[in-house]
Amino acid sequence: MTVLDQLNSSGLYLVCGAIVLFIAAVCVVFLVRAWRAGIALGMDPVRMKRAITSSATFSVLPSVGILLGVLALSGSLGIPWPWLRLSVIGALHYETQVAGAAAEQVGIKLAPGAMTTQAFATIALLMSACIIWGMILAALFNKRYLKRLQGRNTAGKSGSGFGDLAMIAMFIGMVSAYLGSYLGELVSGNGRFTFSGSWIPLLVAAVAAAAMAGFIYLAEKKHWEWLDNFSIAGSMLLGMLAAVLAGA
């Protein structure tokens, strides 16, 4: 029995599957509680359903991308562990980076055929330990932190306050950083100002942005509001299609 066979054994599926099931149950509990709280607060069920539908459609495509991450890591870590990591707490860029660094510390490369059982257990522990802080901070400080923010919000003079503007600005900053990196990749990706880097991410972003413009036009000007639910996923799909066509 090879190491990879052991990493794909039913025992590992059972351990990882049980944890995934626990997290799924937690999500269902939070979902039901939030729905009931919304009804008790007098919120419109149609709007709540709309939030759920849009979130579900929004999440399908990125989830398929995450599934590919499971595939990518399964060659060296087996299927069950990457399945657990990417279902529950991780993100592909994080998992890949930490798994690589952990493999380095145990003196192997993260590659099929190189894995040992102890190396795997060590890598698994490090992958778990490095990304727990958000959860710990939330458990320790969420109540106080949110109460403090709430106090600031209610102390504000205007109706909406600066909170919403700050969130939009934060998002603009986040998007700017990524778009800037795609532009930087094209211009200096293969040496400063050589203009020979990859242009695909920029093309994909441009097509997705154009598609979003189309969706917003149809929703706002033609009053096809239902399209809003699919605008992000649809724009992403068209952007990704552009990558396939450009790569063909």
Binding site: G11, V15, C16, I19, V26, C27, L31, R33, A37, G38, A40, M43, M48, A51, I52, S55, V60, P62, S63, G65, L67, L68, V70, L71, V88, I89, T117, A121, T122, S128, A129, W133, G134, I136, A138, N142, K143, L146, T154, D164, M170, I172, G173, S176, A177, G180, S181, G184, V187, G189, R192, I200, A210, A213, S231, I232, S235, M236, G239, G247
Partner: protein
């Protein structure tokens, strides 16, 4: 009105209690799993190597986690943030997903409506990921040839640019003049220091700070003008 306030306060109290309990349980499960798996494999993790690995990469992720916590918790509210920090994939999925849902229903930060919508959104998003991954893992063998086909690889390698392209149009149109400043600064930085592309997620911090700073100045200016009138 009073009943609603009391009901919401009771909901929040239970949410915090539940959030803390499930966070601690998840922590125990995730840190315990490598030891349980190790015992199934007849070995144990090398704690010395794990500690060295933590010092090399773990500290970076610790700083990143603290910043993520401080920045995203106000967006997500109580229930949403407990769930999001348990289920992960924040930047690439949970945050834009919750922002999108919030936008669709017009909920404002810090309100009870935002708390409910954000929790509904994060819980739904997490369940979709769990279901897609479970189905994918179940069907991984027949699915592998399709998903790994070379023709589809460029698509899945560009999920993040597709996401940020779509979000760019959605958010930049709210204040294009504000957006141009961080966009130009970030583009120039990445052009002059190409190695920064490996740390894009960290560059969100200065980019966000610039955008928030400009937005604050504009907000203050608006308040002063309103007061003058």
């Amino acid at each position: 009105m009073m009943d609603k306030k009391v009901a919401y306060e009771a909901y929040m109290k239970t949410t915090h209690r539940l959030g803390r309990i499930v966070s601690v349980l998840t922590l125990i499960l995730l840190l315990g799993a490598p030891f349980v798996i190790g015992s199934l494999l007849g070995t144990m993790p090398d704690l010395g190597a794990a500690a060295r690995g933590f010092l090399s990469v773990g500290l970076v992720w610790t700083v990143s986690s603290i910043v993520e916590y401080l920045v995203y918790t106000p967006m997500l509210g109580a229930g949403g943030s407990y769930l999001a920090f348990i289920t992960g994939n924040l930047i690439n999925m949970k945050i834009p997903c919750a922002m999108n849902a919030r936008e669709l229903v017009g909920a404002k930060t810090g309100t009870a409506e935002n708390e409910v919508i954000s929790t509904l959104s994060i819980a739904t998003s997490s369940l979709v990921t769990i279901v897609v991954l479970a189905l994918g893992v179940l069907g991984m063998i027949p699915l592998r040839p399709v998903l790994e086909s070379p023709a589809l690889q460029p698509a899945f390698a560009n999920v993040v640019p597709a996401l940020f392209g779509a979000m760019a149009y959605k958010y930049f149109r709210k204040d294009i003049r504000l957006a141009l400043v961080p966009l130009c600064i970030m583009s120039l930085l990445f052009m002059f220091v190409p190695s920064l592309t490996a740390s894009t997620s960290f560059m969100i911090i200065p980019a966000g700070a610039i955008a928030i700073g400009l937005s604050w100045l504009k907000y203050r200016k608006g308040l002063k003008e309103a007061a003058r009138k």
